[in-house]
Structures are given as C-alpha cells and as structure tokens.
Symmetry: C2
Subunit: 213 residues, 2 copies
C-alpha cells in the first residue's frame, strides 16, 4: 500500500502520506508478519521506502513506533469492519445479537485478508511484549478494553431487545467474547486455517447466546 | 527445581534426573519466562547446570528441545491438576460440569503459581512460533487437541447427566473452552492480573453453560 502510494504520480488530487504515516503503515505490516523483536528499524524504513535517517525525526524509539502501530492496527480493523458494512455494531439491520455476530464475522474476514498465519497483531504483541514493554502492553490493554466496551454496549442493546437475560454481566461478557476471539485467532494462526474463528462464531451465537433472553 | 536436584547429596534413594531431563525441565522455565527466540542454548545449559557440550549429545537442535518442552509442559500442567485433586475430570465428586469447572480452576492455579506474567507456554509458543517452526507448531497443535478432546469427553458426560443439551456440538465446545481459556490467559499476562481467567470461569459456568440441559 505504502510502496504504491510513493510510486504514484502526485496529481495533487490524492494527498501523499506523510513520512510518519508511511512508517506507521509499513510497521503495521512488518510487525504483523515478523513480530516486534523479529523486526528491525532497518526493515521498517526499507518497507516504507524512506531513508533510515528520517526514522528518528519521527519516533524516539522502535517502542514509540510500536505504540502507534497498536493504535493504527485498531483503526485499520475498525475501518475494514466499516467497509464490510458491519461497522455499526449499534444500529442497522437485524437484532442486536445479529449485529454483534456480523461485526465479529467482519473482524474475522479482515484477519483472513491479512493472512491467517499472521494472527491478530494485538494478541501477538500481548504474548510477545507483555513481560518486556510496559508502554506497548498498556497500549494493547487500552485497545482491547475499548473493543470489549463497544461489544458490551451492544450487549446492553441485546438485553433491551430481550435477546439476553437482564441479569447478564455484559461487561464480563464483552471481554469474554473478545478474549474468545483472540484465543480462536491464535489457534487459527497455529494451524494456518480460519476454522477455529468460524467455530467461535457458531458456538457463541448458534449455541451459547441463543435463547438467553 | 533442577538446580536443587543437582545440589542434593545422592543418597541412592532419590533418583537423580538425567542430563536430558534436567535440560528439558530448565528449558520449560527459561522458554516460559523469556520465549523461544529470547532464550539461547547457553541460557538453558546454565540454568540446568550442565556443560554446554552435553547439549548436542541429547538434542539435535534448540527446536528439537522445544518439541520436548511442549510435551513436558503439558504433562506438568496435568500433574499439577492431579495434585490439586481435580485431576479426574471424568469421575469424582459433583456433576460433570462441576468437575470441568474444578479442572479449569486448577489449570488457572497452576498458571498463577508459575507467575501470571508468563502466560501459558502453549499460547506463547503458538503466537511466537507458528509462522516460523512447523515442528513446534505441530507439537502445540497436538497438545491443544489432546486437551480439547479431554474436555469434550467430559462434556459428553454432562450431556448424559442432562446438564447440557443433547444437540450441543461437544467437539466444538471443548475447543471453544480451551481457546477461551487461552485468550483469557493472554489478557491476564498482559495486565499482570489473574482476573480475566477468573472471569472466564464465572462467565462460562455461572452464565453460558448454566441451565443448558
């Protein structure tokens, strides 16, 4: 993507990505494919097609870039879900539980489109970096918390629609579904097959959450 | 543990661990704490207190040791669960779902006893090594499959006892619970707190699987 942008004739109509944005976009791809410790600043500047010297004009460290990558990856997944027409977990066609299902299905399609072997970058960073980098761990925690909170708010709508018991702990259930997706994405990465993620959808929505009103 | 064994006076009553077993036991600890790529053969022989030269008498490569570590870690978790009196997921006090709950609670205690920041070694290896080492990925897949299959067999007992609907897909549900535990263990590792794993237990057994007969 970034490489393509830099090679495109600047017509004045398409804004050119800033060097900082190029570095972040390339680092999302490189970290997703090779992990944080498996990627060097050199790998990232090469992928971005920018001079190595420019890196430290924009980021104090590889770790500082890692924090921006966590935020960018979360936005990227959100943007993909929006394009897939499943953005609005809170309004649109169907019941609240149907919308939550479509939302997770779109997240899975985004995962598959990146290559199931890469897994979810948030889960990868969580296991790789939690003991080593507090700042990146905090960024991943914040991303997972925001994500879980959105699912929880949609679960409140399911309660209001009578699809989910009034007494259900929607905060815990929102986190549970995000954690369950992450576990399924890890096994999908391990076996190189999306099946665990599709099974996550079926077991959650066809069995565990069906008729829980 | 291993260091202690090698320093103990050999009374002839306590069998001394073989060098191979010492290397595996130390590698479980070292890989669990620092990851596979973050640990060198040198780190492992030092932790085991054996000469570096002896390593390649026992293992063709660090990867070959990694495969044995996956097997040993699975046995270790199983042994801990047995000591906790929750070993028999298939028989003992309580209903089948109560036994499955106690089993996962014991797995969580084992995780906590190792240090929640280390996560589950199987999940760590899955995200770290899936794209790089097919042989270790296969060993982790086999360990997770065996684990899921045991949970599924216990879920059949829950069906027979009328605690779980006859039509439930117990194979999918066994995998779902293992994946869900792994996702919760990952978030526990990330935030350095066991709460996500305890929440996994409560949401699964107090809400999702309660009254599903």
């Amino acid at each position: 993507m970034t490489g393509h942008l830099t090679q495109t004739w600047d017509s004045g109509l398409v804004p050119r990505a800033s060097v900082r944005d190029q570095l972040i976009a390339s680092a999302v791809d490189v970290f997703h494919a090779r992990g944080f410790n498996g990627s060097s600043v050199q790998d990232i500047v090469e992928a971005a097609g920018v001079p190595k010297g420019s890196f430290y004009n924009h980021f104090a460290s590889k770790e500082a870039l890692g924090i921006e990558v966590v935020k960018a990856y979360s936005r990227l997944v959100g943007a993909y879900v929006a394009e897939a027409g499943a953005s609005d977990i809170f309004s649109g066609d169907g019941t609240p539980l149907e919308r939550i299902r479509r939302y997770f299905e779109a997240v899975i399609e985004q995962n598959v489109s990146c290559g199931v072997r890469k897994g979810c970058l948030l889960g990868n960073f969580a296991t790789e970096l939690a003991p080593h980098s507090t700042e990146i761990a905090n960024a991943v925690t914040e991303a997972l918390d925001n994500w879980s909170a959105a699912v929880s708010r949609a679960l409140v709508q399911a309660q209001e629609a009578g699809e989910l018991a009034k007494g259900a702990d929607v905060v815990a259930l929102g986190r549970y579904l995000v954690d369950g997706y992450e576990g399924a994405a890890t096994r999908a990465k391990l076996i190189g097959d999306r099946a665990p993620m599709d099974e996550f959808i079926r077991t959650t929505f066809d069995f565990l959450l069906s008729q829980r009103g």
